[in-house]
């Protein structure tokens, strides 16, 4: 242990002559060792909690959802090819496929984002700030799994520079960094992030070829008992996956439950099904695509983070119990969404009495579709962009819940609202705080005057 410490001390670069090297060294040094700095006058002892620990706990709370999401990416992929229809069939292959699909995304976000962070830290003469640890993990979790890497790189750079460093770094930003990256992709490359095709991963990248994942699929398809299918016949000339080209699966579409509900109401979601034809017996088996269990366990197309609701709730509980994420925001956001959803249900009964419509989707299913829970647990609770007062947090959360549900249900173009709702309320958070503080000031004035 001493050896590493002495080595680090020996190679410390000079801060003045090489600030960039020093920031880099400082980053690794404080990662390996908690610093030996001591308190000066003021308090003489300090709480054991610091920002690094706060941020790493958010990342840790995300891990369950991450692992479940990675497996599900594989599951969706193989199901589209007619392979491994059961949830636990070939789970190792599913995990390997999902991980290798996401890994390049994570690496690109970290390299681009941390590079910019290091640059700015060195320029400012600060040490590297930990806020990006969380953002860098959130960004891959809210992107479509197939999104081109260069697009993610640009979005990350945009988010870090414009949403964060322009305001002065971690703690000063107004907008949520990860959501800024997503909103950038959403508005700059809308075709990549909406529609039916984007939420399932069909492609094989270099890593898949390297680790033999692609070869496994090619072999599997070629050696089916009924004569086999050529791998390339699954794709058209432009390299796009042809849905239903397979002899193995029928009725499959990549439409998300929200997409279905937006067009055909709740019944469309429940009726969505596909048929897998067993290659040995040639027997067809019909699966309901979005049963309640599937919604809860996240067996559906989407970005990684939003999938497994149980894992996300576990993460939310970790954050709430440890006090790192505000339970006030989470709770009031649920209340806001529920209130508006119930209102929608009632409105729906009068507006569309005999017809199924998105507005009539039962409010409790609204909570389990799409990325509501993920946004609640990890996006809305970002302490920097949320309201800073306890009372303000209640209004802030309620606002997100209400606005998000309105966007989701009443907006014809885009069947999900949390990204826009959170960014919207981010902008309003300082205003909410202002009113809370003003009431505090008025109360104080009144109290002092009577003395």
């Amino acid at each position: 242990m001493k050896l590493i410490r002495n080595f680090l001390d020996r190679i410390e670069p000079d801060k003045k002559s090489s600030p960039f090297l020093h920031t880099l060294w400082d980053g690794f040094d404080t990662f390996l060792y908690a610093p030996a700095s001591v308190t000066k006058n003021g308090v003489h002892i300090r709480d054991g909690m610091d920002l690094k620990r706060t941020m790493i706990h958010v990342v840790l709370a995300m891990q369950l959802a991450f692992i479940a999401g990675v497996i599900n990416i594989g599951h969706q992929h193989y199901t589209a090819f007619g392979m491994y229809g059961g949830a636990f069939q070939g789970i190792g292959w599913k995990f390997a496929y999902g991980l290798l699909q996401i890994l390049p995304l994570i690496i690109v976000v970290h390299v681009v984002g941390l590079g910019i962070e290091f640059f700015f830290a060195a320029k400012k003469g600060h040490s590297i700030e930990e806020g990006f640890l969380v953002s860098a993990f959130l960004i891959p979790m809210i992107m479509p799994p197939d999104v081109p890497l260069w697009m993610v790189a640009i979005a990350t750079a945009f988010a870090v520079i414009v949403a964060k460093e322009a305001f002065g770094g971690t703690g000063m930003n107004i907008l949520n960094i990860a959501l800024t990256a997503r909103v950038f992709v959403f508005f700059a490359y809308p075709s990549e992030i909406s529609g039916e095709i984007c939420w399932i991963s069909y492609d094989y990248n270099v890593l898949h070829s390297l680790f033999g994942i692609k070869a496994h699929t090619v072999d599997y398809l070629a050696n089916l008992p009924n004569g086999g299918v050529a791998f390339d016949s699954m794709f058209d000339e432009a390299g796009q996956f042809i849905a239903n080209s397979s002899v193995l699966i029928d009725g499959w579409s990549g439409a998300t439950p929200l997409g279905l509900a937006a067009n055909g109401g709740w019944s469309a979601v429940q009726e969505a099904s596909y048929t897998i034809i067993d290659p040995v017996t040639n027997k067809a088996e019909v699966f309901q695509q979005y049963s309640t269990t599937n919604l809860l366990l996240g067996v559906m197309p989407g970005s990684i983070g939003e999938m497994n609701k149980l894992a996300v709730i576990a993460g939310a509980l970790i954050l709430a119990v440890s006090g790192i994420g505000s339970w006030r925001i989470m709770l009031s956001m649920v209340l806001g969404a529920v209130a508006v959803a119930i209102l929608m249900n009632i409105l729906g009964e009068t507006l569309y009495p005999n017809q199924d419509h998105f507005i009539k989707v039962p409010w409790y299913y609204q909570l389990f579709m799409g990325s509501f829970l993920f946004a609640m647990a990890f996006m809305a609770t970002d302490p920097v962009t949320a309201s800073g007062t306890d009372l303000g947090k209640l209004f802030y959360g309620f606002g997100i819940g209400a606005v998000g549900m309105v966007v989701r249900v009443l907006n014809p173009a885009y069947p999900e609202g949390w990204m826009l709702a959170i960014l919207f309320m981010n902008v309003f958070a300082p205003l909410i705080d202002y009113f809370v503080l003003q009431s505090n000031i008025k109360r104080r004035e009144a109290r002092v005057q009577v003395q």
């Binding site: 060792y33 030996a36 909690m49 620990r53």
Partner: protein
């Protein structure tokens, strides 16, 4: 209120989880939708009731005492329904329950024994007082011999602030710093005591001028702390109130009940005499803050000529600033003086004997000392040698290896670990302190310390595993456990501040020098010690007390 809310939340969450489970059937789901709608409406009515109740309380607190004809709450309390009294110590008096705060449980409480160690050096330090001119007017020179109570120097601007010698002896050295500012005056203690006689007298029969004169002449005047700003008051100031908190909730703080018990009957009479003198300065406006959680000494509970207020809670409930917030909020034009109980006894003794008796019973605390006890020493004593002996004998008995022991150093703090002053070398106490804490320096790297803490440390955050066990006490060291960052986490400061105050926003407005916000957010109600816990819990390791002092100085300079 808090518990009711928690119950409601559990119900709501349960409903949210449970209803979809049972909603398999469509006809059923309609029933569920409307029943939950009814539930939500009931919930809203209940919330409205609670909020109405709260607003009544708030508007009541803004009324003057004699106008408070509104009932305190329309939800009856446990006391009103069942006649159960939660606070038998306070009797029928109203108890302010302060439910926010944090108790840092440290090892090294002082044993209940009183020692009388010999002290050779004593210092008087002008820098301990806020608002003093850096170069006071000296009245003695090096080598002069002085009596107890003899004037040493006074402030140049306000010549009523006399600093007197707490011991008889010889002026050994006058230490000067940059620009010849005086750091301290060191006096060598002689064996024989000789006193300056200020004349005894019953304060009840004296007029205000006489009491003021005596306090200023004897040098006890400088023990008054005037809020807002925490300065030594002017001679001509008429205080709106004088407030004494009779208990200290800071980590390892001295127990004033015990200190009074050691002084016996005499102590009780002296305390009352001190209160009588204060009553002349602020007629009918002397307030005592008492602890409803632990039986206070009879001198406090049976004190006359003082309004008593009962408080129950963990640190910072014992701070006069926090208590004043609940009984007498301080505005921009108020002048409220605070004192500690042992200062009141000193004042009482001055009027009883006509002599200055500047000895204090000091709690010598800290986990790295062998013999922790209360010691009776003159104020401003040099305790460096005493501490060093006890630290050495503690280390000799410790089971760490020799190399580790050689690397371990300690820090002396005059006062408590939250707002005390680091003292070095001879270790001269602050004049007004009755508390010393000694703790190990934490100047060691810790591998992955931010991720996997390797030894127990105090924290309010449950992710630090030891914080989950309420029985744990800690050997704290001075490591910062992290680096300074911008404000990120919110709500932390408020969770340890039992006042209607937003410390983080107050600090931000100080940094922005936004005069109106600083005033409005309540800077007049706080001093450094009241927000010290915020600095302890701060994830971003911000210098809260330093920033607050900046703000106080900024406001003072603008007036």
């Amino acid at each position: 209120m808090k518990r009711t809310l928690r119950n409601i939340l559990t119900l709501v969450l349960f409903n949210l989880v449970a209803t979809p489970m049972f909603a398999a059937d469509d006809s059923l789901s309609n029933v569920i939708v409307f029943s939950s709608l009814a539930f939500v409406i009931v919930l809203l009515i209940f919330l409205a009731l609670i909020m109405g109740d709260q607003s009544i309380r708030i508007s009541r607190s803004t009324l003057a005492k004699d106008e408070q004809d509104l009932p305190p709450s329309f939800i009856p309390s446990k006391k009103e329904i069942f006649g159960i009294n939660d606070d038998p110590i306070a009797g029928d008096a109203k108890v302010h329950v302060l439910d926010r705060g944090h108790e840092i449980k440290l090892d090294g409480r002082a044993d209940v024994t009183l020692q009388h160690p010999e002290i050779n050096l004593v210092s008087v330090r002008p820098t301990d007082y806020v608002g003093m001119q850096p170069i006071p007017k000296m009245l003695v020179a090096e080598g002069d011999s002085v009596k107890i109570g003899q004037k040493l120097f006074h402030d140049r601007k306000r010549d009523s602030f006399f600093f007197t010698s707490p011991v008889a002896g010889k002026v050994k050295e006058i230490r000067r710093g940059a620009k010849r500012a005086i750091i301290d005056v060191i006096i060598e203690v002689s064996k024989r005591n000789s006193y300056v006689d200020f004349g005894s007298g019953d304060p009840k029969t004296m007029d205000r001028e006489g009491v003021v004169e005596k306090l200023i002449e004897s040098g006890l005047w400088v023990n008054f702390i005037e809020r807002p700003f925490g300065i030594v008051p002017d001679r001509s100031t008429q205080p709106d109130a004088i407030y004494i908190s009779t208990f200290d909730t800071a980590p390892l703080a001295p127990d004033y009940n015990q200190i009074l018990a050691w002084q016996g009957k005499e102590g009780r009479a002296l305390f009352q005499k001190g209160l009588d003198a204060l009553n002349v300065l602020a007629p009918e406006q002397v307030h005592l803050g008492l602890n409803a959680g632990e039986q206070p000494h009879a001198a406090f509970t049976e004190a006359e000529n003082a309004t008593k207020h009962w408080f129950k809670g963990i640190h910072p409930a014992g701070n006069p600033g926090v208590q004043l917030h609940h009984v007498r909020p301080i505005g921009p034009n108020d002048k409220v003086w605070t004192l500690r109980p042992d200062d009141v006894i000193m004042i009482g003794r001055l009027f009883e004997t006509g002599k200055l008796h500047a000895k204090r019973i000091v709690a010598l605390t800290g986990d790295c000392l062998s013999d922790k006890a209360y010691i009776e020493v003159p104020s401003g004593s040099a305790i460096g040698d005493l501490v060093k002996d006890r630290f050495d004998s503690y280390m000799a008995a410790d089971d760490r290896d020799a190399e580790e022991k050689a690397e371990t150093s300690y820090r002396m703090v005059s006062g408590n670990v939250l707002s005390g002053l680091q003292i070095e070398g001879e270790g001269f106490l602050r004049n007004a302190d009755a508390h010393v804490t000694v703790l190990e320096e934490g100047d060691k790297h810790e591998m992955f310390g931010w991720l996997l803490p390797s030894y127990p440390r105090p924290s309010i955050n449950p992710t630090i595993p030891w914080s989950l066990f309420s029985f744990m006490t800690f050997k704290a060291n001075t490591n910062t456990h992290g680096e300074r960052r911008a404000f990120v986490v919110s709500g932390q400061y408020e969770s340890v501040t039992p006042m209607d105050l937003y410390p983080q926003h107050l600090l931000k407005s100080i940094l922005a020098e936004d005069f109106e916000s600083i005033e409005g957010l309540g800077i007049y109600e706080v001093l450094e010690e009241d927000l010290a816990l915020c600095e302890f819990v701060c994830t971003s390791k911000q210098p809260v007390q330093e920033t607050l002092r900046q703000g106080l100085n900024f406001i003072m300079s603008q007036r």
